[in-house]
């Protein structure tokens, strides 16, 4: 048996020292990694473990002026499958196809597809989503989301507009006030294992979502419903192409109601009534046509309602007084043209007021010619007709007007009674509002205020502009227009016991050869101190097409109902 040798111990000692040195070096390496590289690796590891899940912010609601909700959110669910987590594909296929009423073959295809996540169905209601969730099938995920919901369906569809798949506004107020309505999304940072499965009870970092603001509109639900009903009724009775009705407050520009029928269902905005056989482009055109807000997006020749502007300009400039006498032989010769009055046998001798009551073209041609192109154009501009109204809806159309240097006698004559140029209905209503309210060109608008989730309310402000017209002229115009309704062409709009001003119009659309007309009526009440203005436009009615005959009665029914509703007093009381 061997004894230990001295060199055995020496060499073991040598090995031990070597091991000690190496271990020390490794300890130093650990210090380097865990102290100096800790942040670097720590951040990288955290990136690896954290999954960001966004919390969708609820889109703000839209309410009418009294707080009735016109646009809100509905919780909907999306059902998807995560291939790697499915344990019983047959069971999953069976249950999902049954509950979601889907073709089992289609569901099976998605269940068996090797992908990280496959969406089975979107936009299912919450109850169905909950039902699926309760089955707690492995690999089946039910996510909740918000979907825009419009409780009144078609109501003011072209005004309110709708949102797209990502809850962003597409048309109407939904897009105009997207910033206000859209809150800011929050997020949850959760920890997951290597398969991406969230770790239970792990601390999660949250950034809460901030809900969008509630937008309060100037629209009054009752007025809107009433005018929409009247518009549909008129469209059907007169076989019209479309009917637009606008109710606004001429003092501040708040719009109480705006309907352009046919409206469309805001909860189903992409379905066309007759979509068969259309190409994609044609389909998109048809949709855009369906979504058009004719009060704002379309221009038309206003016709005789524009005589209000000629009247205001003539009176302001002093080229005419209410007592001035005129003679209408049924036409007026301007340069080499013979411009006819709608009354072909002529109105005979009449005062300016009577001319207005008769809506006599030669009288207004005469006033126009007395003003001359320069001065007429000056007022046209001064009244704001060359600019957009600034209404808070997207896509407002501009005025189509002659260049000043191109306005000859004939052009001037036709402009004077509202032809040969085009404006939007909202432009007409705004300009008349500013004349009858004493000279403030108001900005027509829908938005009144926005309220955030804490209840803080901020009002929108729309600053009016002076148009430089005297109180006297304003009062004279109102007086004449009251006469028009009391005894003139607008008498069908008369409501017993109420003081109403207004003007009718019948304009032929282009091309003239098509023989299509627009019948319209613009009225306001009380005539002395207007608080509500109504504009009725009937496009392409069948049969009788005179504004005084078919548009004024619509305004009559509207006044009859909304004046008491708005607490606008009867004459005797006022």
């Amino acid at each position: 048996m061997q004894r230990k040798k001295a060199y055995n111990r020496k060499k073991f000692f040598f090995v031990a020292v070597a091991v000690a040195l190496i271990l020390t070096a490794l300890a130093a390496r650990l210090v380097y990694l865990m102290v100096f590289c800790s942040e670097y690796y720590g951040v990288k590891a955290k990136d690896l473990h954290q999954r960001e899940r966004s919390i969708k912010a609820a889109r703000g609601e839209i309410t009418d002026r009294n707080g009735t909700v016109l646009a809100t959110n509905k919780t909907v669910c999306t059902v998807s499958v995560i291939h790697s987590q499915i344990k019983a594909p047959d069971e999953v296929t069976k249950q999902l196809s049954q509950i979601l009423e889907m073709d089992p073959a289609e569901v099976r295809k998605k269940v068996e597809k090797v992908s990280s996540m496959e969406i089975i169905k979107k936009n299912i209601d919450k109850a169905t989503g909950d039902e699926i969730r309760q089955l707690s099938l492995d690999g089946v995920k039910v996510d909740e989301d918000f979907k825009r919901y419009y409780p009144y369906g078609e109501l003011a569809s072209k005004v309110i507009g709708f949102t797209g798949a990502d809850n962003q506004g597409i048309i109407g107020l939904e897009v105009k006030y997207d910033d206000v309505l859209q809150g800011s999304d929050g997020k949850i940072l959760t920890l997951t294992d290597a398969r991406g499965i969230e770790i239970e009870d792990a601390a999660e970092e949250r950034v809460e979502a901030v809900a969008g603001k509630t937008l309060r509109l100037s629209i009054d639900l009752n007025i809107q419903q009433f005018i929409q009903q009247e518009a549909y009724r008129t469209m059907e009775e007169k076989g019209a192409g479309y009917v637009s009705i606008l109710v606004m407050n001429p003092q501040n520009g708040e719009i109480l109601g705006m309907s352009n029928v046919p409206e469309f269902d805001l909860n189903d905005p992409f379905t066309l009534t007759a979509a068969e056989g259309l190409s994609d482009d044609e389909k998109q055109d048809a949709l855009n046509q369906m979504w058009r807000n004719q009060c704002i997006n379309d221009t038309y020749e206003p016709g005789s309602t524009f005589k209000i502007i000629t009247m205001a300009a003539g009176l302001s400039e002093g080229v005419v007084t209410p007592e001035d006498r005129f003679y209408c032989p049924g036409y007026k010769i301007v340069e080499d043209r013979r411009i006819r009055c709608h009354q072909t046998r002529g109105h005979g001798a009449e005062s300016f007021v009577e001319g207005a009551m008769n809506s006599c073209n030669p009288v207004f041609i005469e006033v126009g010619l007395r003003l001359g192109a320069d001065r007429y154009y000056k007022y046209f501009k001064q009244f704001g007709l060359l600019e957009k109204t600034g209404i808070d809806l997207p896509g407002e159309a501009g005025t189509i007007m002659h260049k000043k240097e191109n306005i000859g006698e004939v052009e001037l004559a036709t402009i004077a009674f509202g032809q040969s140029f085009q404006i939007t209905p909202i432009q007409l209503a705004t300009t008349v509002s500013s004349i009858i309210n004493g000279g403030n060109r108001v900005v027509p608008h829908f938005a009144v205020s926005a309220r955030d989730s804490q209840g803080k309310v901020s009002a929108f402000s729309f600053v009016p502009k002076e148009i430089g017209i005297s109180k006297e002229v304003s009062n004279t115009v109102k007086g004449i227009l009251r006469q028009v309704v009391a005894e003139g062409t607008g008498k069908n709009a008369k409501v017993e016991g109420f003081s109403i001003g207004g003007k009718t119009a019948t304009s032929q659309t282009l091309p003239r050869s098509a023989n299509k007309y627009i019948a319209s009526f613009l009225g306001f009440a009380p005539a002395e101190d207007p608080r509500v203005l109504v504009l009725v436009i009937i496009n392409d009615p069948q049969g009788i097409y005179y504004g005084g005959t078919i548009a004024a009665p619509v305004a009559n029914r509207i006044f009859e109902n909304i004046l008491p509703y708005l607490n606008i007093g009867r004459e005797s009381a006022g």
């Binding site: 230990k4 650990l30 865990m34 473990h49």
Partner: protein
């Protein structure tokens, strides 16, 4: 004189408490870490969080029994079985080649009913006992160099057999042998040649297969290679541990990011959960253990016991160094387990057997001629 001293009854010495304490601490710590690192994988693959813990607990219990027996039986008793054990190790390694079961792509296990046995773990113990016996039984050698060479030649079969499917363990066995022969051999110079030969062989070995060179590239820049994933995940775990760690059980990297966290990479999870402080404490316990091996060797009665201690010392030291070096990406990746902590039943049983041997030597006490 010498004869008399040798025949004297051994002084009544007590078991080395430092070593015993270090072993028990590491065994207990190992079980805790096995549970911490394997609960996720156990639940995932076997629907049982304690799947790995149970198996390891069984093996550890068996190992502690083996350790007790080994510490009670005089270490010289095994000398007569040294050659037999070595032969058995070779035969078992051959058996693995033919009847081995494959786990994770490696054929390393022999299935014995519900149990599985890894012959390469047994081979380490067998080589230690065999070499200690071989070297200490040859007195007054004429040709030292020839003996040195013959030692290597005798060890070669097991190294080749184990190396054919488990290169890392073969390197450990070779390392143990080199250290033991180095300590036993009077001169140092020939080992310089051994070292040089080793380096040349390594270079040839690496250049033979392109995937081996790739390992070097991955080692230098693990973030650039897909195969650097495991290394990188280990570094993420170590780095995110920081000074004091995330707390026991709080590792995120063990949740599938570090693959099979209870195996070779377990030390990275120790770092993540217990921080630099915890990691250094664990290495400290190993340092105490290694020191005790040295002290017990110094105080041992004869060269056989001395060489057993040095062999065990080499075994633990090599595995700790290589494992920590791999986990910290200080050397290219190779699969080496962390003693007492990494999951593996055969490993813990034979480690504890080695501890029993050394504990027995510690009880034997001082050699009188030291």
């Amino acid at each position: 004189m010498k004869q008399i001293k040798d025949s004297l009854p051994a002084p009544d010495k007590k078991t080395d408490v430092w070593l015993l304490a270090a072993v028990l601490i590491l065994v207990a710590f190992g079980l805790v870490m096995i549970y911490s690192t394997s609960a996720y994988n156990g639940a995932l693959h076997f629907d049982d969080k304690t799947y790995y813990l149970k198996k390891q607990f069984f093996a550890t219990s068996l190992g502690l029994l083996v350790m007790y027996i080994m510490s009670s039986v005089p270490c010289r008793f095994w000398r007569k079985y040294a050659l037999a054990a070595y032969m058995a190790a070779n035969l078992l390694s051959i058996a693995v080649l033919f009847f081995g079961t494959t786990v994770n792509g490696s054929k390393r296990w022999l299935a014995l009913g519900p149990l599985s046995f890894q012959p390469s773990e047994f081979a380490k113990l067998a080589v230690i006992v065999f070499l200690a016996h071989l070297i200490s039984s040859r007195e007054n050698r004429k040709n030292q160099l020839r003996f040195l060479i013959s030692c290597f030649v005798l060890i070669l079969p097991i190294v080749v057999l184990v190396g054919s499917n488990n290169l890392s363990t073969a390197i450990i066995i070779l390392g143990i042998a080199v250290v033991m022969i180095f300590i036993a051999y009077p001169k140092s110079l020939p080992f310089l040649w051994v070292a040089l030969a080793g380096i040349v062989m390594m270079a040839v070995f690496l250049s033979l297969e392109s995937y081996r060179m790739e390992r070097l590239l991955i080692w230098k820049n693990p973030e650039m290679y897909e195969k650097g994933y495991q290394t990188l995940q280990g570094l993420f775990a170590i780095g995110s541990g920081g000074l004091f760690g995330k707390g026991l059980g709080q590792s995120l990297q063990k949740l599938g990011f570090v693959p099979e966290a209870q195996n070779d990479m377990v030390f990275s999870i120790v770092c993540e959960e217990l921080g630099l402080v915890g990691a250094l404490l664990v290495l400290g316990v190993f340092a105490v253990m290694l020191r005790q091996f040295y002290v017990i060797a110094k105080n041992s009665r004869d060269q056989y016991a001395f060489l057993i201690c040095s062999g065990v010392f080499a075994h633990i030291a090599i595995q700790i160094i290589l494992n920590v070096a791999v986990v910290t990406n200080s050397i290219p990746n190779t699969g080496i387990t962390f003693p007492f902590v990494s999951y593996g039943g055969t490993s813990v049983v034979f480690l504890l057997a080695e501890m029993g041997l050394v504990l027995n030597i510690s009880k034997e006490g001082h050699s009188l001629n030291a």
